[in-house]
Symmetry: C2
Subunit: 419 residues, 2 copies
């Protein structure tokens, strides 16, 4: 009955729409169907189509399903640009990768970034967002050409201009790694580097190391700085003279050279921790050149996410920063911030007058969060949220006590998880 009447209007309404659009509706030969076309075809108004497809408004199920079927038949897909313009939400999150050298920002020089990006993409997708990869260089050309709901910055430099610009535009920014300087991010996620390094040095000392060396980078990023400081602090505490080499992290060859230098020193260490992913193989190769047996003459640990250290000769103990969990956590944090901020600005008009209305939005309620730094009081100005994630030491043969003699056919060592 209602259906009948409503759909009897079809021709009129459709005709009106067609007229209002002028006679160039014949150019719709190969153009994508818009919401207007669906409305005309279904014999309803644009409003009704929008409501039917988005589950809003007061519509009987018959109308809803009818509109949906027409939309399906026409292959209608809402224009993302128009929706973004109207709603202010793009569903896009920027992922900023730091540019080590110049042009080709090293994004996967080490497996860390790749795994982190993978997990971040997956986590964003699960909440309906997509990820866009962007360079940290100040090419604001690209930055301002894509509508971002928020941004993740990996290891931001002190006083990062890109971050400042984003914040000025009101775009939420969270960082992977503690922000240096006074970078005004909304929050960050990082490992407990101090605890990781101390734990790992204790492990080496427990395996018999008397002088532990460090192979580190000359960079100023937070990871390098915190790890080096933790190493120096540990040395001071146990009364060991620090012995370390540094090299510019972005040059792959420099790592091998530095590893060689470290083992060539007169005060050669009997255990080494390498801060970067390729250091393990570099150190292994250097040890072979000097005739040092691992772990008999040299204990080895390196920070890596790569699986190759499970089957090197010998397998190398690695410290995993768990980039997957970091990437996931940083995305959760960012999306929470985005949605809280949206809810806050939606409730703002009422907030100035009386009660805050039915603000029943889920606001970071029961996440799988471990220990937050701060719980925010409500939608509004959140203090900086900081979240510290644990690391994992994967102990393999290269850092085991020097006991058993090695046979030719040694057992396969399964990757034992520790700590």
């Amino acid at each position: 009955m209602l259906r009948g009447r409503a759909y009897d209007q079809v021709d009129m309404t459709a005709a009106k729409h067609q007229v209002s659009r002028g006679e160039d509706s014949r150019r719709s030969r190969a153009a994508r169907a818009g919401i207007r076309d669906v409305a005309a075809e279904a014999g309803v108004s644009i409003t009704t189509v929008s409501d039917a497809l988005n589950g809003k408004g007061r519509l009987p199920d018959t109308t809803r399903s009818h509109v949906r079927s027409v939309a399906d038949r026409l292959g209608y897909r809402p224009s993302a640009a128009a929706r973004t313009l109207r709603t202010g939400k793009s569903g896009l999150i920027g992922l900023t990768v730091t540019t080590y050298g110049e042009e080709p920002f090293t994004f996967t020089e080490f497996a860390y970034f790749a795994e982190m990006a993978r997990a971040a993409t997956s986590a964003a997708l699960a909440r309906g967002y997509a990820l866009a990869i962007l360079p940290a260089t100040s090419q604001h050309d690209v930055w301002s050409n894509v509508a971002l709901d928020g941004t993740v910055v990996i290891d931001p430099a002190d006083h990062d201009p890109v971050v400042a610009e984003l914040v000025r535009q009101g775009i939420p920014v969270v960082s992977d790694g503690r922000p240096g300087g006074d970078v005004p991010v909304a929050g960050w996620v990082d490992n407990d580097h101090e605890a990781a390094v101390v734990g790992l040095l204790d492990h080496l000392a427990g395996s018999g190391a008397r002088r532990i060396g460090l192979l580190a980078g000359a960079g100023t990023d937070t990871y390098t700085r915190l790890s080096t400081e933790a190493y120096l602090g540990w040395c001071a505490r146990v009364g060991q003279q620090p012995v370390y080499e540094t090299y510019p992290a972005h040059d792959p060859c420099a790592g091998a050279v530095a590893a060689d230098r470290l083992l060539a020193r007169p005060d050669r260490p009997d255990a080494v921790y390498g801060l970067y992913d390729p250091n393990g193989t570099d150190l292994l190769a250097a040890a072979r050149r000097y005739g040092l047996r691992v772990p008999e003459d040299l204990l080895l640990v390196c920070c890596s996410e790569s699986g190759v250290y499970a089957s090197t000769e010998p397998p190398v103990t690695t410290l995993s920063l768990q980039p997957g969990r970091i990437g996931s956590a940083v995305i959760q944090l960012l999306i929470d911030t985005i949605e809280d901020r949206a809810a806050a600005s939606a409730a703002r008009p009422a907030a100035v007058g009386g009660r805050s209305g039915g603000g029943s939005r889920r606001a970071g309620a029961g996440h799988l969060a471990g220990h937050h730094g701060t719980a925010h009081p409500g939608p509004g100005v959140r203090p900086m949220v900081q979240r510290v994630m644990p690391t994992e030491l994967i102990v393999r043969a290269s850092s085991q006590p020097r006991v058993r003699a090695t046979t030719v056919n040694q057992q396969r060592t399964p990757p034992a998880a520790d700590r």
Copy 2:
């Protein structure tokens, strides 16, 4: 003089604009500055602002610089969403990664994807586009929520529904890897896998191999299929009985097991080619377990982009697919397609009527293209462009002829480029 007069109108124009916007212009307290605000502040129309900032229209330099300075002062950034809606170009390119298992699509299981994505991002950026990572699953939720100018699909499955949907929407799609089935992509880029495998097997045979084995995947992707076929063809040609093991590529442990199986066979090969990145270390470990010396008892080559094989013991010869060049080429191809298509549709209205007017748009004029499969005749329907890229065999100790006896302190072998 002109300046003086023009800017004397400021107050009038500004007032008019303010009125036209109603009295709610006070809500502009914390809102981002729009083009209207710039126009009002500079005392010109929004048309002039747009023209001045985009380098269009007929404006004296004085006006241009004045508008620019005002825009800078207000911190004006054009809304990407509005611009996209108006122009139809978003500056965003989708990069589809194939989901091996279920949820967590393995994006960097192997260094190939990571390097390819890095190069693609870099190439896109250089031409003013950004990259968005998207899953190949048919979650069209996310797909239709982001405005894409085009999409790169990595190794599309036969009859991929996502690709079909994108093409139906008129979005250009190019693929990395030959598309299976009748996937209607606009073009593709791939290695010459046949030539790569044949060249590599010849190299092994030249180093003295009598029976070459293959460690392959059970997947149906084009890479695996073409490589396996090339191997079988080569075996048939030289009259060798094929000997190979396959395993599901997405399971990392399965690789080690399959490597073990291959060397445990009664018809054990004296040389092995591993199709996937981790196969090198897996085979090395398996060889150690069976007391086989490399390269004396077993020659080894694997397909990998990882640098670790330069410093394994011994260093392993690798086949590089040059993912960086692939990623760059595939992006160039896609952007060429996007911009050609845009130019074509811009010239279309005149084409049906009379002369084409002043259609002096640049239409894929002189690109840096190497050897295309086809040169397109003009803007319009391009045939499928297919581009084949060379591979690189990096010869290291693991596949060298068995001549010299190994000393304890062997020379560092520089990564020699071949072919």
